[in-house]
Subunit: 363 residues, 2 copies
Amino acid sequence: MSFAPLQNDTFLRACLRQATDYTPLWLMRQAGRYLPEYRATRARAGSFMGLATNTDYATEVTLQPLARYALDAAILFSDILTVPDAMGLGLSFALGEGPRFAHPVRDEAAVRALAVPDMDKLRYVFDAVTAIRRALAGRVPLIGFSGSPWTLACYMVEGAGSDDYRQVKTMLYSRPDLMHHMLLINADAVAAYLNAQIEAGAQAVMIFDSWGGVLADGAFQAFSLAYTERVLAQLHRTHAGATIPRIVFTKGGGLWLEQMGALDCDVLGVDWTVNLGRARTLVGERKALQGNLDPNVLFASPEQVQQQARRVLDSFGTPHRGEGTGPTHIFNLGHGISQHTPPDHVDALVEAVHGHSRALRAA
Amino acid sequence: MSFAPLQNDTFLRACLRQATDYTPLWLMRQAGRYLPEYRATRARAGSFMGLATNTDYATEVTLQPLARYALDAAILFSDILTVPDAMGLGLSFALGEGPRFAHPVRDEAAVRALAVPDMDKLRYVFDAVTAIRRALAGRVPLIGFSGSPWTLACYMVEGAGSDDYRQVKTMLYSRPDLMHHMLLINADAVAAYLNAQIEAGAQAVMIFDSWGGVLADGAFQAFSLAYTERVLAQLHRTHAGATIPRIVFTKGGGLWLEQMGALDCDVLGVDWTVNLGRARTLVGERKALQGNLDPNVLFASPEQVQQQARRVLDSFGTPHRGEGTGPTHIFNLGHGISQHTPPDHVDALVEAVHGHSRALRAA
């Protein structure tokens, strides 16, 4: 496979802690329901999985936010739960509800029956990666992603989202052997899945540990971090001559940032509870930082959005300038953009991030 | 008012960072749905508010867990939302759902109409405090409580629980002036409410900042911590010759523990994401620490419950022994006990906490 040369490497450079002219920006869930053009495509596709499994639709919606906004990266349109779906758990999305598995993993027999799925069952994802990469034509880099082993386990055991994670934590505390077995399989599956995305054209990969933050201190390290580490150890570092940056985001993981600083990855994503200046002090000499505007800021006026965006940039401070490597920042939200976001407020955000981050470097 | 002398002051001593023979223990939501006797009383009362507003019922359910378990404190049976209810927002609890306000505070007119409620409207709470204190007959101390100004504001604006706190954060980011106005009123109302509980017989008070952890860094300090501080500044320090310890618990507030260490209170509650040893290093010379077992541990076997309880005690380490003051620990869960908890697992927990904490001191 060969692709058009990359025209905007700002995001990839920042991932690798290299100097950039401005702070690159992308938004978690940037291709999504807040965009009317997304809702139109989804209506044509009939369902969320109809959208995610169709290469043309997935390409179309991935590119939609780039047509509106000067974002510095694209991210594959897909779901974090494709891997357990390929394991046979039967993923579905009821309208207006979250994901649901027809066959949750609730007992020893179900855990023992789990295996790393045949990656051919996820071919639709890798095809989408290649199609999107071609359609991007080098405009910005494409990020591939997966849920973390622990986050997948949460959904696999609960069968759906949860308030209290009672089922999955009951298994964790009462049958840690089963939980470790499931996480081992998940980790190897996630590694194979991300490597196949890299081979298909993903230029960076991100592990979403969306539910790591619900774990107790001690349990987080043993049941989430250790398996994220196992994924990272298996990932391709380079592909087709390019370095593939690896991003890890644990929502609610701010307390464990120092321990996450030891992970073999390039970027740590942080949510809005984290002070970026403090995070930079703790891990900025080892990792690029990604984040962390509260998505709810986007409901305020465009002027207020810009003020809060400047605040986030200022809290990180002036990034590394000049040769070699040093502390860098990739602007993002602290979680996915809300479906209720007014699209023109995102214009204000992009303008503020690019403008103010250039000003910071000039100061 | 005069009450029977206190027979077990372990909890109060630990709050004030004084040595105790063992680590005292109580459980958030210890009078609750996991107990069959509670469900029976609630069925007789007809509704949650029927239970909370009836002095006899409130006394009965407050004492139920003490009849089963050797807990070291009682906590008033009530709800954190009684104050906004007294402000006229119309609190109700639909069966199987969370609280709901008939009149959420969504616009400037509604905010401007808010006022500190006449404490007479909360007389049922203060009557319950006195009745419970009498019924306890000095067995263990009674804790009074309130939601924090910010946590009350979350419910007042959202009108119910929320996944994303979109309404309240929209007001916070777009109309910070209105949010500050509401928080000021909430703080003064909470202070009056807690002082009246103290006057009615509460021997310690706790502020539940259940939703402080959803705020962004910066916003937490300005919109939650500052108003908790405003409450604390107004509270009675002593009553009827006794010191009244003040406890502050911010769920998800672990990242701000050092800043919370500067609060004018005696105890900081922490959830299960916090490492107690690290918390002790950060604030143990200024505050007692309360917490922090994941309530989901109680779904594992009694032996596993005991192992995890010992792990929490060990993570704090040996508490202060001897004269004067020093680091102390009050064992609790990191959040309310689940309604699905098997009651006999709580027996195992109490036994492990009392037994192992005596052993720790003897070592």
